[in-house]
């Protein structure tokens, strides 16, 4: 990954290319690289859809190697949803392919004047940019089908659907998976709208003729990767629960804990939870000749995804994630798993964040546009987005906008981004992360990542009442570092419990780059990323007021435990004291 490709879309004579060595940024990857470039080069006060904004697409430090789980792609920009800095990441094939092609990042900047739609094709021979207006207002699936006919079956695509073209604030960027389906998404923060504002419909990658990146110390790298894989396979979460049931294994657990937001955060339990649970979904997939255990990219050993099929065995969608099932399910009072899988497909095809879109549909239900539990109504609302109707554009703009348009008081968002599937009144530590994350409400911003090993920010006694603020801080620091490696965030479970897994990760990095990184260096990396992001947000106009949960979480108890969020503002304001 020795070079950075810049494409300026503003030029009168058409997009211009510039390739430059990665230089001093070589030590960064993934989120570290996207946030550094955005923080340095994007004016924080700019309009997210203006020419001043940039979209940075970066594989992780370990992407393009044989390291297991290293296929996460980071996409950064100023977010049209939150108004702050954004790093949204996705699985699928692009990170590995981009890294094998030698790119540490692709930066799209500027904005063309006309209405033409562009494609960018990259292979070992170089970069070609073309106008292709035949792709206008096509869904991601039709777009990829068309591109495969033109460029062959070996391509990997990064594309936007209709939502991105319409620059809707909940639009995603799709990445193709191992089967070439645009089913893995950088979902959060409206990154699709920024790509749409650059009028880039798709980036097509072909790594034919390219090899995996070669580590400086291949033997040490192989040995570390072996330990890493063995740790993942041994761990109860990464070796058993996730492969068997996917992330949706959480449904029954959060429901039992009374932390499963239901009917737009009115209740903490959903009567239909078991009907839409991971266990039910996996049993259905097995019976219908689908597949409950499937990786989203080559080199994935956890394989938490799956293939969801209908009663006749036909592909419906990839196995919907826990948060997707929740957003379209319990949040909307829907307990029909087939309907939820169908909505997952529509989201992917239209290019929408499943969380913000599902929560937006719940806003429409709260306002009485359709009733809670109305499956057909929910599907029709989703279809409106792809058609570009005024109602569809509202839904596609996310929960905050939809709630405002329909006069809803209880709107579960932080920094304009919808709160996902875990009620912060039941699990308050999560509420701290939702409130203070630089990304807006984000369940992946503070993952359970090796805090006991890293002890970033000092040792924390988790039994102390005030421990949850410190834990949230440490988790956010550690997660920012892991997001830079290209590693799937689910490796966190093994890292949390197995010191050998964390050691193996460090060894892989050191063997690849010939460095001597320590745990402290990893902590420093995470801290630096968070400082950059926090500083960007402050320069964009954010204050402490944005680091708060919506007031209803502090005033309305949620059954069955009848608890509310009571972490004080003063405590929340200490998260960035490091």
């Amino acid at each position: 990954m020795e070079k950075i490709l810049r494409i300026n879309m503003s030029s009168e004579s058409g997009p211009t290319l510039q390739e430059a060595p990665v230089g001093a940024l070589a030590a960064l990857g993934g989120r570290g690289l996207t946030s550094t470039i955005v923080a340095r080069e994007v004016p924080p006060e700019c309009h997210p859809l203006s020419a001043e904004n940039k979209i940075v697409i970066a594989p992780g430090l370990l992407s393009g190697t044989v390291a297991a789980m290293s296929g996460r792609l980071s996409i950064g920009c100023k977010s049209p949803l939150t108004g702050g800095i954004k790093e949204s990441n996705a699985g699928g094939q692009p990170a590995q392919v981009l890294a094998r092609l030698g790119y540490a990042a692709i930066i799209l900047e500027g904005k063309p004047k006309g209405d033409d739609l562009y494609t960018i094709f990259i292979n070992k021979d170089g970069v070609k940019i073309a106008i292709d207006n035949s792709l206008k207002m096509l869904g991601n699936y039709a777009t990829v089908d068309k591109l495969r006919k033109e460029f062959g079956d070996n391509i990997t695509c990064i594309s936007i659907g209709q939502a991105g073209e319409m620059k809707l604030a909940a639009s995603s960027i799709a990445c193709t998976d191992m089967e070439g389906r645009p089913a893995r998404h950088a979902g959060r923060g409206g990154v699709g709208a920024v790509m749409g504002s650059k009028r880039v419909k798709a980036i097509i990658l072909d790594d034919s003729g390219m090899k995996n990146r070669e580590p400086k110390d291949p033997e040490k790298f192989r040995a570390a990767n072996k330990v890493f894989v063995e740790s993942l396979k041994k761990h109860a979460v990464t070796g058993e629960a996730l492969p068997a049931y996917g992330t949706n294994v959480l449904t029954n657990i959060l429901n039992e804990a009374g932390g499963y937001p239901t009917y737009n955060f009115k209740e903490g339990r959903f009567a239909g939870a078991s009907k839409i649970s991971g266990e039910t979904m996996a049993a259905l997939e097995s019976e219908r000749k689908g597949n409950p255990t499937h990786g989203c990219h080559r080199g994935c050993v956890i394989r938490c995804s799956g293939i969801y099929t209908d009663k006749d065995g036909h592909y419906v969608s990839k196995q919907p994630e826990y948060e997707t099932v929740w957003a379209h399910g319990a949040h909307c009072g829907i307990d029909d798993i087939d309907a939820i899988a169908k909505m997952d497909f529509i989201d992917d095809d239209t290019g929408l964040d499943t969380i913000d879109t599902g929560v937006a549909i719940g806003m429409a239900m709260e306002a009485g546009v359709i009733k809670f539990g109305d499956v057909d109504g929910a599907i029709e609302l989703l279809k409106e987005v792809g058609k570009g109707t005024p109602l569809g554009r509202i839904i596609g703009s996310g929960a905050a906008i939809t709630g405002k348009v329909f006069g809803v008081e209880r709107v579960p968002v932080v920094k304009g981004q919808a709160i996902p599937a875990y009620d912060p009144r039941a699990v308050k530590g999560l509420g701290v992360t939702y409130a203070t994350s630089t990304m807006g409400a984000d369940h992946t911003a503070g993952y359970a990542t090796a805090t006991n090993i890293l002890k970033s920010g000092g040792f924390v006694d988790p039994l102390k009442a005030e421990g949850q603020v410190e834990l949230s801080r440490n988790l956010q620091i550690a997660t920012a570092a892991i997001d830079s490696t290209g590693m799937c965030v689910f490796v966190a479970f093994a890292l949390l419990d197995m010191p050998e897994a964390f050691g193996a990760l460090l060894n892989m990095l050191n063997a690849l780059y010939g460095t001597n990184l320590t745990a402290d260096d990893v902590t420093d990396l995470g801290k630096n990323i968070l400082r950059l992001e926090h500083d960007f947000n402050i320069r964009a106009g954010f204050t402490k007021v944005q680091d708060r949960l919506p007031l209803f979480f502090t005033k309305q108890d949620v059954p069955p435990h009848n608890v509310h969020f009571d972490v004080t503002d003063d405590e929340l304001d200490t998260v960035y004291n490091f």
């Binding site: 019976e287 699990v427 369940h443």
Partner: protein, 200 residues
């Protein structure tokens, strides 16, 4: 909730079918046990689950929806719901784990330890739920000792679960010399009653 589980229809599930009843184990079923015995004692002594298995695999435990950190200091009582799960993903999953490093993040819903009841122990009925891997691995073990649930709940489960689930009960019905339709009619007739389920 107190339920008289003394009478009702009894199904003997064929051993090879027990693995397909995960929908039932997840939904929850009733068993009787001594009130005042600890959750740990109930699982090890009463249900025959090995301590090592408990420590290694039963990572997430709820009593009446509250996460439990120490199974030795929470006690069985009439009408309680005990839910067992393996280790779960996500920050929420890690937070809900038994005695986990992140347990302070959910302290307001944690099940507080109690002193053991000093009164004479008597039989109580409790609901048990087994999630994810534990449904597959522990469900058949619970069946050996017999479980109960409402006929109306079984009817719902037969409607919403896979054909393998249905076949397990249809096989049991065949052994009782009735076909599937007769079975469903019988369950409808006895919707308010309790059915007993055990291994054949």
């Amino acid at each position: 909730m107190s339920v008289d589980i003394g009478h009702g229809l009894t199904f003997h599930i064929r051993a090879e079918d027990a693995q397909f009843l995960t929908g039932l184990y997840i939904h929850g079923f009733m068993v009787t046990c001594d009130s005042g015995t600890s959750v740990e004692n109930f699982l090890i002594t009463d249900r025959g689950i090995e301590r090592q298995y408990l420590e290694r695999k039963v990572s997430t435990v709820f009593v009446d929806g509250s996460p439990v950190d120490d199974m030795g200091s929470v006690f069985m009582h009439e009408g309680m719901t005990l839910a067992l799960s393996s280790a779960m993903p996500g920050l929420a999953g890690a937070t809900l784990r038994r005695g986990g490093y992140l347990s302070s993040m959910r302290k307001s819903i944690t099940c507080n330890p109690a002193a053991p009841a000093a009164t004479i122990r008597k039989k109580c009925s409790v609901t048990v739920k087994l999630f994810n891997i534990l449904a597959e691995e522990l469900g058949p073990a619970f069946l050996v000792r017999g479980i109960c649930l409402k006929a109306s709940d079984l009817l719902d489960l037969l409607t919403m679960n896979t054909s393998r689930f249905k076949m397990a009960f249809f096989h049991a019905a065949q052994d009782m010399r009735m076909d599937g339709r007769v079975l469903l009619d019988l369950l409808r007739d006895q919707a308010a009653n309790i059915v007993h389920i055990s291994l054949k």
